[in-house]
């Protein structure tokens, strides 16, 4: 089965064709990164996968289901980590209440948390390593901490697929590598991961597929097949070069043992 299967997908927003004739097929499980310039339609593609936007034409299947026909089923199988700046800072929610959200939305009002929900939240909190901040206000956490909380929220309902929209925005290298190893362990457990990012150099060694999106799929496949100068030029223009150094420079977080 494929996690995402799109053919001839066209999506319009207010009459403006944001995605045109997108053809994409990602196997399950797999780790995929989407890159592309600002306004390329990356967020739009994620929202179409979730059934939040309806395609004008073409077809899309997510875990074998049609998100335009069965949005609830798709959304129960797919965890979504939105761009962090889309979240309101007027709401003084505690981090653990934010995490519980994706379990409680599937209940009937008044959606009170059961012992099992609390246990599930606790488990994810320790899995993501955010025990110290679970009781603090979300709006008072740092960018990287907020990102971890939002990821914890997406995985607490045990999805088969995880969509992340620029999860490394405003996140330092240490948190970034922690998030990365978390995503890799999920991938090993059989979860498909689809991540929008602007910085592909950090993920190049761990992803299975790379998709270059610019209104349509310009290139898709193994990262080394996509990251070619003549392909990137078509999207980013002349001012980009591909440099690869072996061994490359890496940021490795050091544990402080005193």
């Amino acid at each position: 089965m494929n996690s995402v299967e799109a053919s001839g997908l066209t999506v319009k927003l207010n009459g403006f064709e944001v995605l045109r004739d997108v053809n994409l097929s990602l196997n399950h499980p797999s780790f995929t990164a989407i890159i592309g310039p600002n306004g390329a339609g990356k967020t739009t593609l994620l929202k179409t996968i979730l059934g939040l936007l309806k395609p004008q034409s073409g077809s899309i299947r997510v875990m074998g289901l049609d998100p335009t026909k069965e949005p609830k089923k798709v959304r129960s199988m797919v965890g979504y980590v939105p761009q962090r700046d889309r979240v309101s800072f007027f709401v003084p929610m505690r981090a653990k209440d934010v995490i519980a959200m994706s379990r409680l939305v599937w209940k009937r009002p008044p959606r009170w948390a059961t012992k099992r929900d609390e246990a599930a939240v606790k488990k994810v909190v320790s899995m993501v390593g955010i025990e110290e901040i679970a009781d603090r206000r979300f709006d008072e956490l740092s960018g990287g901490q907020q990102q971890k909380v939002l990821i914890a929220r997406a995985i607490v309902s045990e999805p088969s697929m995880l969509l992340l929209d620029e999860p490394f925005n405003g996140v330092d290298v240490r948190s970034q590598s922690e998030i990365m190893s978390l995503l890799m362990s999920l991938r090993e457990k059989g979860v498909s991961i689809l991540m929008v990012t602007h910085d592909v150099s950090d993920v190049i060694h761990i992803i299975d597929n790379l998709v270059l999106l610019h209104r349509t799929v310009v290139a898709a496949g193994k990262p080394e097949d996509v990251l070619k100068e003549e392909i990137l030029k078509r999207v980013y223009g002349d001012r980009i070069g591909v440099y690869s150094h072996e061994p490359c420079i890496m940021f490795v977080p050091r544990d402080s043992h005193g």
Partner: protein, 275 residues
């Protein structure tokens, strides 16, 4: 000295208790990012009440002005919610400001053409006097407040989620537009109840200021809601006591106590954090 258990004082106690429930709508407005919404709904209610009084005066119908006030307030907030779905927070702010202006203009115009005895009734919606509410009015406002609190309790999570992260909530399968409209409707209803109970001017003091103060002090949404109601109670009863002790108008005293609470909190927080 006034008897603290005299019937008109007991009614005032009940009215302030109702406001403690209604003040939750102030918290919700702060969460939704439009803190002034209850006050704007209240001024729309004021315009509605004016129209209601005028129509029943001119046509001799027995029309309860409060019904028109409640309709005006909820239609206004629902309209703001509708506008907001397309235009975002700026559009909501513009729609609500327009409703406030319209409400106050209607009030001013109707007040000008009404006979003196009806002006007094109308002015009760601007600067309400919690000491002269009728039993039947207290009963009606109690029922509305209780209904409001039940709906709020049932849909607490939805309301918080929609305010926190509408996109994420929708991606989790929630019907976000439905619950967003519910938020706006509840705030309109609350605004009209507050207008009838204490007058539209006091909404700032008893609904909005407590919510803003509570947000500064709370570690969670639940804590913020409880604290908002507590501050409303404090300001209401404190203000009432001040008004009786110093023989001042109740509305003004309540407003002063509420504002002092806010200022005191901010100063206290500063001092506390410096240490």
């Amino acid at each position: 000295m006034v008897d603290p258990l005299s019937p008109f004082l007991v009614k005032a106690y009940v009215a302030i208790l109702l406001m403690a429930g209604i003040s939750i709508s102030g918290s919700v407005s702060v969460l939704r990012g439009i803190a002034y919404m209850p006050a704007e709904a209240a001024h729309a209610a004021l315009g509605g009440a004016a129209l209601g009084i005028l129509v029943s005066h001119v046509t001799n119908m027995t029309l309860d002005p409060y019904v028109v006030a409640a309709m005006f307030a909820s239609v206004t907030t629902l309209f703001a919610g509708y506008v907001g779905r397309r235009g975002g927070p700026e559009a909501i702010a513009a729609a609500l400001a327009g409703a406030l202006t319209l409400g106050v203009s209607i009030y001013a115009f109707v007040r000008y053409i009404l006979p003196a005895n009806l002006r007094v009734v109308l002015d009760g919606y601007l600067v309400g006097d919690i000491l002269i509410l009728k039993d039947s009015e207290i009963a009606m406002l109690s029922i509305l407040t209780i209904a409001y609190m039940i709906i709020f309790t049932l849909f607490y999570n939805e309301i918080v989620y929609v305010c926190f992260d509408p996109e994420g909530a929708e991606a989790m399968g929630m019907n976000v537009s439905l619950y967003d409209f519910m938020i706006f409707f509840l705030i309109g209803l609350a605004g009209s109840v507050a207008t009838k109970a204490v007058g539209s001017l006091l909404v700032y003091a008893l609904v909005i200021a407590p919510a803003i103060t509570a947000k500064e002090l709370s570690g969670s949404v639940r804590g913020m809601l409880v604290l908002t109601s507590a501050i409303t109670l404090l300001a209401g009863y404190g203000g009432l006591a001040v008004s009786l002790l110093f023989d001042m108008p109740s509305g003004g005293s309540i407003a002063v106590v509420a504002s002092l609470t806010y200022v005191g909190t901010m100063l206290g927080k500063r001092l506390f954090q410096k240490r």
